[in-house]
Amino acid sequence: MLRGVSPERHLRLSLALLALFLATGLWLEAMIGLRAAGWVDDPLRREFLRLGHAHGGILALLNLGVGLAIERLATPEPWARVIRPAGLCGALLVGFGFIVGGLWHGPTDPGLPVLVVPAGALMLLGAVVCAALVRRGDRRPGPP
């Protein structure tokens, strides 16, 4: 589904992600203000929700950067069609991996959902590296 992400949709989805993770910041701030139980008294949850909020927001910005970069660098479309969904998936998995892992966690460690964070990070890393390395004249993938 995401393979069909157009440049425009990539930028719009990146902005949507940015808005989403900025909104989680409002939520966290409200919990501090209201001294919500399960938040102020749970350092592990607090730490992982913060990680999710911060990573999600920054990685949404990174997606905007990647989107603009591949346009400016005229990255061949076959690569760009993969870079865009990889970047979006990566930001989503990292941000929500932290948040969901922090919401449902064990006594000393985050919950199982945190395991998607490295997967998301690898996708993002791949997206950034490809955006940097693939040149406009690079051969189209597929049989010669």
Binding site: D109, G111, L122, M123, C130, P141, G142
Partner: protein
Amino acid sequence: MTRWGPALGLFGPALVWVVVVVVGLVRTASDLEAWGPVDRREAAVVGSEACGVCHPAQVASWRQTYHRTMTQPAAGAAVLAPFAGESLVYQGFRATMTRTGFGLPHLRVEAVDGGPPLLDVDVALTVGSHRYQQYVARLDRGGGPGEMWRLPVAWHLGERRWMAMNAAFLEPEGEPGDADDYLRHFGRWNDNCILCHNTQPVPGLVDMAKGTGEAMGFASRVGEFGIACEACHGPAGAHVERQGDPARRLLGGAGDPAVAHPGRLTPGDESGLCGRCHGNRIAADVGAVLREGDGFLPGEPLASVSRPIFADSRVGGSEETPFAARFWPDGTPRLSAYEYQGLLQSPCHQGGAPGGLGCNHCHDMHGDEPDMQVRAGRKRADGCVGCHTQDASHGGHRTVDCQGCHMPRITYGLLEGMISHRVSSPDPGAWVGRHDQPDACTQCHVDRSRRWAAEQLPRLGLAGSRAGEEASEELWAPRVLLDLHGGDPVQRGLAAHALARAEVPVPAAIRLAWLVDALEDGYPAVRWMAWRAMQRLAGPELGGVLADYDPHAEAALRVPAVDALRARLGPGPLTEAQRLALEARQDTTLLSIGE
């Protein structure tokens, strides 16, 4: 490059990660060693630092407690006394506290009138940090190079002064100049203090003569100095090993049976953890305790290795009840370190069954209050309202909470009066005519008799026994004053403590006049408690006179200060004949009770 090259390049590593994670989780989930039962007895002690890697908040809260500083190597900030050349003369001996060239605390004890030193030792360990700090030195007195001894002087933190350990025990003054008497409480650490002041202690009694039994010695060791994580959670080696696998931690959720979690035990078993030290007990196999430790594994019933001492406990088939003096006539413990017994005797405990009262209900080892470690939200009446309906009119006392009447301060320990941990209801009428046990009402209404207290109960809407015939002495003075003069040493100490309580509805000037006589008590510990009580009550105008009084000084040095106080405060309410009659009874109730 194939058509799928870009997709594989970008999503491939993430897919590999997913495969690795799934394989790892499935493998751990099906690994019996990760989930099966563990022989916790064989697990190694890892120490609090290892626990702090995963449980930093819990270790940080524990670090604030007096449990942590129960025993420490005598170095740096652990040593609370100055050891700057102070000296303490007591019973004909002078103790001088200095430091070695390396800064180590050092003690030298010698007779005031000369002769070779009785002791000349470096301090190796400190014990305690709350009320007073005791010191331990390595000294081979026939038990091998590992033998360690509790020294005869301690540093009192509240008064910031040295005191002889003999004076910290509730017993009569010793014989001046008698070295054996002076060293009465020069106790061996290896088979005494080690057990309740350290984590996973092993006294290590060994036969140094290899089978002859003629030279027993000690190769003592502890898992960690002080009461640390594994004192309550058990040895954590197996837990740490298991939890080293991140998949085990992620799949495990809350809890690993490789360690005990007191909050998940029944009230009976979690209280047993505390009862291990806060409830003196008789081991099933004393020899094994001296060799290998007490054998108690947190999470298992304390009764599996020992039985708690009660008033009627017997030892070795004897008909004697050697521990009876540690309890009031109704069986309530009257010394500290019997809190567990008090709980067991309380109806609220319900035999330790789920729903019953356990130590954890009121105390929190990881709370934010190191003093008494009372759980947040369970202070005062809040500890009771979870089970008992809060009724503002109950008891008719506006300024007294549940604890004041149902857990009265009738326990002696560490030169203080402490609350009883046997939850009970006062019935002063039943004890009219008796002089052998204090009651909740008159410990607070220090100007009243027990008959008066009994008569007030119906007025307050409370049930109680009808007051019986009063003994003639009960007409002379309030109950507490009779105890202060004629009670046994525990009663005298507790009476002095009661007279200084802030909530007592009697002017301080009157209470001060009553306390003066106790400054001449035959027991130094009682004199100390009376002196401290007067310090709490006295205004600045008495401060100088009280400063001239030393409860541990020889009688000839104490008398002028007592006379000066009596002249300032006036006589007590008892006639000379009454006072002598009560004091005569003291002699028949002599008892020697430890800390």
